[in-house]
């Protein structure tokens, strides 16, 4: 065990990085205690694998590095497991997460194991560099830790997703009722739902709210038009503010519709807590899903068409 200081430092930093990432983003996390164990253990394994690369190279056992391929395989399985889990849960959700959100979450889970791996790899590298410079053990450890923490921090910043607040302006408005006997619910003249029952209509009139999400540019307009992205917003709002909904009372289902002329998204919902500023906050903090992000302005055609 020639390199044990190096390896232990790497494993500790890598596992800690994974632990912090578990805590940073509560919405990406289903929040069950066994989940913590699963992901911490996998983070530990990832960190151990990342930490073994440099020692293996020092010992000139180059073939040993192929175990990284095994790691990649392993972590792809994490993504599948997480996806399956959320899809099974989806059947029991009153307000669905939506396929796009589930894909996004499971991808993040896979990626975070790689982040733990990279962090511990850089930690060993830091240790090795200080070792080459003939520093004492304490300095080598400090060097290793600081390089690991620096990398973990940089990766965290690089990996942070945009949120709806970055790409759009959010507003909470009162619902409008139009049509014969005022039975159509609308926001800014866009009809979103038709209600047959007076009882439901009263409920919407009393407790219902409208949310207007105005895209800042054509890129965000295309992103917000995605059905999965809209469902993710609804899911995030209803998990945080609650929703008055049950099986059999479909009339209170929150819905999101698009204004085709302007690209503005309208959401109607009956929250349990009718607090406009909190709802705004919840929408603003919804992540922009990686898979649905569109950037028409980045292409030449899109750029010219937008003029």
């Amino acid at each position: 065990m020639k390199h044990w200081q190096m390896i232990i430092a790497a494993v500790v930093v890598g596992t800690c990085a994974r632990l912090i990432m578990l805590k940073i983003d509560y919405r990406q996390y289903p929040g069950y205690p066994h989940g913590y164990i699963i992901h911490l253990t996998l983070g530990f394994i990832a960190a151990a694998l990342g930490g073994l690369v440099i020692p293996a190279l020092i010992e000139e056992s180059y073939v040993a590095v192929t175990f990284l391929a095994l790691a990649a395989q392993q972590f792809r399985a994490v993504r599948e497991a997480e996806r399956d889990f959320l899809q099974e849960l989806e059947k029991t959700e009153l307000v669905k997460r939506g396929q796009a959100y589930i894909e996004g979450i499971s991808k993040v889970f896979e990626a975070r194991n790689y982040l733990a791996m990279i962090t511990s790899f850089i930690t060993t590298l830091g240790y090795y560099v200080f070792d080459l410079l003939d520093y004492a053990l304490v300095f080598r450890l400090v060097g290793a830790l600081s390089s690991g923490i620096l990398v973990a921090y940089l990766l965290h910043i690089l990996m942070s997703e945009k949120t709806i607040g970055d790409i759009a302006e959010v507003e909470v408005v009162e619902l409008e009722f139009c049509g014969p006997e005022n039975k159509n619910i609308a926001v800014e003249n866009v009809v979103i739902m038709n209600l047959g029952l007076n009882e439901s209509l009263e409920k919407w009139k009393k407790y219902g709210l409208g949310i207007v999400i105005a895209p800042k540019d054509d890129n965000s307009r295309a992103t917000l038009a995605n059905v999965g992205q809209r469902q993710a917003i609804i899911h995030d709002v209803t998990t945080q503010l609650g929703v008055q909904l049950d099986l059999g009372v479909q009339d209170y289902t929150p819905l999101a519709r698009l204004n085709l002329n302007t690209g503005r998204v309208y959401i109607i919902v009956i929250p349990i807590e009718k607090d406009a500023s909190c709802i705004k906050e919840a929408v603003n903090n919804t992540p922009v899903l990686e898979g649905v992000k569109r950037r028409p302005l980045a292409s030449k055609v899109g750029q010219e068409a937008a003029d």
Binding site: L195, G196, E199
Partner: protein, 64 residues
């Protein structure tokens, strides 16, 4: 199996009987508005479908 976006049932009053031609969809007739509301609501709860008002006194139930 779910049958989505398909008219499951039609509820209307005897008064508006003529507005519906015969078809494959079951039609329920109510004597007055209150009964209509009640029937529509009950079928909606039982079939997990939603009641829509066509605006001419005819209510349709659709599962979304």
């Amino acid at each position: 199996m779910d049958i989505n976006n398909y008219i499951l049932a039609i509820v209307t009053t005897n008064e508006d009987k003529d507005k519906i031609a015969n078809g494959s969809t079951p039609v329920f007739y109510a004597d007055e508005q209150e009964e209509l509301e009640y029937i529509a609501q009950l079928i909606s709860r039982l079939t997990m479908s939603m009641v829509h008002d066509l605006g001419n006194g005819v209510y349709i139930l659709i599962k979304h």
